[in-house]
Symmetry: C2
Subunit: 400 residues, 2 copies
């Protein structure tokens, strides 16, 4: 008998029928003789609906209260799943984040798990119950409900597996990890394995299946993470120490991040506090600066270009209006029709590969707006209209 942690996401919990189906899968896992812990997300679009509701009151809601609100989504899921399992005659119990002893630190809406008091979980497993935990949430040192940010339920699942010393299976609406999103590149070949580091880099750059934090926790605690379809009985992908497929090809994926925009800000007075005021306003509006480039300079005035990504509540127009009203001498414009395409791989930053990609873009008459490089990736910010073409070209070139 071993302990397993399974996680079902919002799509897999999207309707009563789907919740019943998850209940039956967990029962069959229990019937195999395993101690079953399951982490679930909010049903389908619940969280988005709550975000929309909040926007009717404020574009910048108090974050403690926003966490209080968002956490109800998972609470609905856990109770309905427990009711379903019990209606089939099996024992189950649901716990919110605080009931499960999930202790967090840090800012509201993006807190980090610092510890999990697993006594209650162990005790209930010992009583033969399927233990259902609300993903995405915890409680901080003040007793306030916190949330873990995007992908938070995966984080809960992997952290629980780390603490319980067992493997973690993430059931999701895709069949595993692909080097490129198969919705964007239908030829993409599913991976059997991917290394933690590679997965982390892919996640950071926008590959949607797993968020960075959960994979990092898996990496640190050596938790084997298996990503598989919640609806199909196909082979998924293991995220482990192993390299993907055993071969050593340097380029292993393409990540796309549409949550990209470019601000051009002209006439910034360098000697003033213009830039700190601007970055303060952007942060208040939940916009985060990814890159700042100085593009030209004239006397005391300088022009900047900023790559910005926005969170759930980010409001670009609001930010621009605030900046304009506080700094009348500034000229500010936005470009939202852009995306970031990142090529990820080991040793990618040798000139051959960059040159190779630039050659491909040039031959196909595609212009880039910016290039950003890191140890494991090269990111191109390009016109959104060129996205599909670039993905196809690079997918074919690197045989992904």
């Amino acid at each position: 008998m071993s302990t397993v942690v399974h996680k079902y996401g919002g799509t897999s919990m999207g309707s009563i029928e789907k919740i019943k189906s998850v209940a039956r899968k967990l029962i069959s896992e229990k019937e195999k003789g395993n101690d079953v812990v399951v982490v679930v997300s909010a049903m389908g679009k619940t969280t988005n609906k709550l975000v929309e509701l909040t926007k009717e009151i404020s574009n910048n809601p108090d974050k403690r209260e926003f966490d209080m609100l968002l956490s109800i989504g998972e609470q609905i899921s856990i109770s309905l799943l427990a009711i379903a399992i019990k209606s089939y005659g099996y024992d189950a119990i649901s716990f919110t984040g605080y009931q499960a002893g999930i202790k967090t630190k840090g800012m509201h809406t993006k807190s980090n798990i610092v510890d999990i008091d697993i006594d209650k979980i162990r005790k209930n497993l010992g009583q033969g119950k399927i233990v259902i935990i609300a993903g995405f949430q915890g409680v901080n040192e003040n007793g306030d409900i916190t949330t873990l940010g995007r992908g938070g339920s995966d984080t809960t699942a992997v952290a629980l597996a780390a603490k319980l010393g067992c493997d973690c299976t993430i059931y999701t609406d895709v069949e595993g990890i692909y080097p490129v999103d198969p919705k964007l590149y239908p030829n993409a070949k599913k991976l059997d394995y991917i290394g933690y580091k590679e997965m982390i880099e892919m996640s950071k750059l926008g590959a949607g299946v797993m968020e960075t934090t959960s994979v990092e926790i898996g990496y640190k605690n050596n938790v084997s993470i298996y990503v598989a379809s919640s609806s199909k009985d196909t082979k998924g992908t293991y995220i482990t120490e192993k390299q993907n497929c055993g071969d050593n090809k340097s380029i292993f994926g393409i990540a796309i991040n549409d949550n990209t925009s470019i601000f051009t800000i002209k006439n910034v007075l360098l000697k003033s506090n213009d830039m700190s005021l601007i970055s303060g306003i952007l942060s208040d509006e939940n916009l985060s600066i990814k890159v700042i480039n100085q593009i030209s300079s004239k006397g005391d005035y300088t022009d900047f270009s900023l790559v910005i990504s926005k969170g759930d509540l980010g409001c670009i127009d609001e930010a621009i209006n605030k900046i304009k009203s506080k700094l009348a001498h500034i000229d500010i414009s936005k470009d939202l029709d852009v995306t970031t395409i990142s090529v990820v791989g080991g040793g990618i930053n040798n000139n051959n590969i960059i040159a190779n990609i630039l050659e491909i873009l040039k031959n196909n008459d595609i212009k880039f707006k910016k290039i950003i490089t890191s140890e494991l990736s090269i990111s191109f910010i390009v016109d959104i209209n060129d996205k599909a073409k670039i993905i196809e070209l690079l997918g074919n070139e690197f045989n992904l």
Copy 2:
């Protein structure tokens, strides 16, 4: 400066606009220099929607898990209200039942408040915050979320006022307490005052404005409860020790309870455990027996008539099917087209008043199916089609 406890119900919190309006009212109360505690219910039909969702899984959901589910309704309300108050530039903080230290005992879905640890509330009031508490919920000795049953948010508000030693105002969608529901008897005259005992009797018999438990807590702790409209600026009704309007008229109201049905069960074998089996099934289906009458007897077999009321999840047909399948010799029929009309007053059970009412019914050719009396009331179970006529006749007769 004094502390006040206000309570806003589901209708008053039914939309974002209404929540903003409640926020402004609380701010104006705060501006008067008061320490403001507010208890809120779930928005509009949230709870009903959750009940419907659960029915898709089970008609008899696990009650711990059902509480876990139902409690989210208030959690949405408190967080949105806090976000609204803070967006107006005032300080506020929301607490769930367990965060507010509301400790309960008893069965899930109808727990009782046994204590409230008000230190956290006092501390936050001391910091100038409007303190927002989720009504209807608490936490039991196992750390499980509990709910308080129908009217639970009123119970939370009155219990808080008792503990804080202050008055309680219940803002609702009616303008106060009436001797008869004005929707059913438009001539009904709003009361300025009603005594605790009279209000408790009216509530028990189905008068919808206040539930029994909250008034009982007010009575025990001498909390003055003021019931008023959340939308209109009209005078409401005080529930206190005082008798209504100072006059001593013995009949002070009519309560109507449509949640009434009559079962006729024939051929019950008295020497067997037939009756305990039947009452067990009714209880499993959330149906509660109000009255049992033996109506005839033949050898070892007896016929009974049961007055039944059903809770949120009560399922009459389910119960009948179960009884039939377990006790094939029993003949069972239901009559759902009935209602209970109760005349409430001090010293009501003298023969003059009963005779008076019977005379009125007879003169108007109205038949009753059952009469049940108590110290403060006489209840008639009648055909639902006679309801309006009876209310009009009795309302006029007793000048309500």
